[in-house]
């Protein structure tokens, strides 16, 4: 529908023919701005002017139009519509002629010509003005975003907790329109640690300000009250009065006792944390506790629960920017996928990297991040910081002896062999067992370089060496994704010698015969071969 810019709704008219008698007769004629005449977009006059081909005599016009009445009251006699590219963009309004004569055909022609030239110029001026207004609006929004980001970053922890036997990792990725995600670690009495992950509804400065308020209240109340349920109840009651309409905060608050591994937690409507349990080999448990988001209703109660984290367990706290991310087909990344990836995790940092990589692959490069993403992990390790196994796992605590990468170039398997040999030097492997391990490592690394990474030097083969009291295990990972290793078959030497088969095809067979256990794991992007050798020859083992 045609609209007329407000600046053109004002009607200019010439000096009235009859001036007040107090004015000097010789005074020059003056222009008088008539009171504005508002023309509603649905007034029939708009349609009439849009279709008019030239100057319109207001006196002769027969239309049921409030605007027409307004024009007449303002003393307008003639209106020349300004039309640009078929769109009515303004009106040239004229009062009666000073000569008291009617507007002549020449006058009308002159006015029509003037309108024809003026309309495009007026349109350009309007567009420039609109564009300037848009730029100012954009600058204001950008400025707001910068302020929101500043507030947000101000309240993020500068460093991760340093607790013996525990590893923490965190990631905060703001969306362009900063959301209200936050996380925090709060030192509590008796060596306990408060862990917070939260999300304020809404975006920008309002969300950042609510986040800052919530953060401050949590910091003030957590060391005093300790119990997660009480802390959330208190924060909720303080926030309710301050909370702007239609806003609330979801928040997971947990208290960790690093000595015992006990984790007490309460949840104000935030995403359920996942625990990767080493004892259940890839299993995931959820830390569920019920509670309303903060700031909605007063006097809410929050369920408090407790879990004990075993050595090797990793907990993921996450905001919904991850699980609720969409790809171009509007499919959601999803909570099951987050849970499943958590179950495969052995280490918090690796888990975060993996989640972000999977998310990137899922949404694709074209999709802008919808919401803030916050990921916090805490993992229980054995004393000394090495990866751990569950207390009842055979072989005791697993310790890492080496972790390194080799570029995927033929021959680099020798680098892997040498580094693994160096790493296991202190384990007391006898000569033959060490040689067998070296051969298996060489073959598995060759396999990873050639078949997993396609001899592309920029793709690393990642090698880690771990040991416990009874075994040494070497894990060799390539980027071969879901490549499935073929079944290990005994090569048919007779056929090869007879020229009926290729002489090649010994690698996997050799690996299997060199080590005590061979296992492979795959995910979408990686392929890992795991070689395990007992530190001592079992009594009934091969001679």
């Amino acid at each position: 529908m045609t609209t007329i810019p407000s600046n053109l709704r004002r009607v200019l008219r010439r000096e009235p023919r009859v001036r007040p008698s107090t004015e000097p007769v010789a005074a020059p004629p003056e222009r008088v701005e008539a009171p504005p005449v508002e023309i509603a977009p649905n007034d029939p006059l708009v349609a009439y002017f849009s279709g008019a081909t030239g100057a319109v005599d207001i006196g002769a016009l027969q239309l049921d139009s409030p605007a027409l009445e307004g024009l007449r009251e303002a003393g307008i006699k003639l209106v020349v519509p300004l039309v640009s590219q078929g769109e009515l963009i303004g009106l040239l309004n004229l009062g009666p002629r000073r000569s008291e004569q009617e507007y002549s055909a020449d006058d009308r022609k002159l006015l029509n010509d003037l309108a024809g030239h003026a309309a495009p110029a007026v349109r350009v001026a309007q567009l420039v003005r609109e564009q300037e207004a848009e730029v100012r609006q954009r600058e204001r929004i950008e400025q707001e975003l910068r302020v929101a980001q500043l507030i947000q970053q101000q309240f993020l922890p500068e460093e991760l907790p340093n607790l013996s036997g525990w590893e923490f990792a965190a990631f905060y990725g703001p969306a362009r329109e900063v959301g209200g995600d936050f996380y925090d670690f709060i030192k509590l009495p008796e060596g306990q640690l408060g862990i917070v992950v939260g999300d304020v509804t809404d975006k920008g400065v309002p969300a950042a300000l609510v986040m800052a308020t919530t953060h401050s209240i949590l910091r003030a109340e957590a060391p005093r009250l300790i119990a997660p349920s009480e802390v959330l109840t208190r924060v909720n009651n303080l926030l309710v009065d301050e909370m702007p309409a239609h806003m609330f905060v979801t928040c997971l608050y947990a208290v960790l006792n690093p000595e015992t591994g006990q984790l007490r937690y309460a949840n104000a409507g935030h995403n359920v944390p996942y625990v990767s349990n080493v004892s259940t080999e890839g299993g995931v448990t959820e830390l569920r506790a019920t509670g309303m988001p903060l700031g909605l209703l007063p006097e809410m109660e929050y369920e408090e629960k407790e879990a004990t984290l075993a050595p090797g367990d990793t907990v993921l706290l996450h905001s919904d920017g991850l699980a609720e991310a969409h790809n171009t087909r509007r499919e959601m990344f999803g909570f099951p996928r987050v849970a499943s990836l958590t179950g495969e995790a052995s280490d918090g940092e690796v888990l975060i990297d993996r989640l972000l990589k999977e998310l990137q692959d899922f949404v694709g490069p074209e999709v802008e991040q919808e919401d803030d993403i916050t990921l916090v992990t805490l993992g229980r390790r054995a004393a000394g910081g090495a990866p751990a196994q569950a207390p009842d796992a055979p072989g005791g605590a697993e310790r890492q002896l080496a972790a390194f990468e080799v570029a995927s170039e033929p021959g680099n398997e020798r680098l892997a062999i040498d580094q693994v040999a160096e790493a296991v030097a202190g384990l007391g492997l006898d000569g033959p067992r060490l040689e067998r391990l070296k051969t298996a490592v060489g073959e598995a690394t060759m396999n990873a370089i050639e078949h997993g990474n396609g001899n592309r030097p920029e793709l690393p083969v990642v090698v880690s060496v771990v040991a416990d009291d009874t075994d040494v295990t070497v894990r060799i990972t390539d980027q071969g994704g879901e490549r499935v290793l073929p079944e290990v078959e005994t090569p048919d030497l007779e056929a090869k010698l007879a020229g009926l088969q290729t002489p090649r095809g010994w690698g996997l067979f050799l690996i299997q015969n060199m080590v005590d256990r061979l296992e492979t794991t795959v995910d979408q992007h990686h392929h890992t071969i795991e070689l395990t050798m007992h530190l001592k020859e079992a009594p009934d083992a091969r001679s």
Binding site: P410, G411, R414, D418, G442, M446, L497, L510
Partner: protein, 118 residues
């Protein structure tokens, strides 16, 4: 590339072609090993002896090269024998069953004399 580059010397011992192998037997040894075999059979010996005493690494590709050499020798009705293998590679030759088709000896004299007595 780390490790010692492959090399091979050829000589004759009591009408037996002896190939002294050096360094690593891997993909890079392909041409040199083939050329050494060519030289070793120039005088059409009935037996070729491989000396592994100076070999410090054999990977699965190297195993494949030895299988290829053995296949060619058998086609030409020659016997292949070996000596100088470390305990580890003796085990690998046993696992791969190469030792079923290639006599493994402790030293050169036993390998050559076994050839002579054959």
């Amino acid at each position: 590339m780390p490790g010692a580059e492959f090399g091979a010397d050829v000589r004759s011992h009591d009408s037996t072609g002896v190939i002294d192998l050096h360094g690593e037997i891997n993909l890079g040894a392909d041409q040199a090993l083939g050329a050494a075999y060519e030289r070793a059979v120039q005088d059409d010996p009935s037996t070729v002896v491989l000396n592994f005493a100076d070999v410090d690494y054999i990977n699965s590709t190297g195993i494949a090269l030895i299988v290829g050499l053995l296949a060619r020798a058998r086609k030409e009705h020659r016997t292949v024998r070996a000596f100088g293998l470390s305990e580890h590679y003796r085990q690998i030759f046993a696992i791969t069953r190469l030792s079923d088709f290639m006599g493994i000896y402790a030293d050169e004299d036993s390998a050559v004399s076994a050839t002579v007595s054959t």
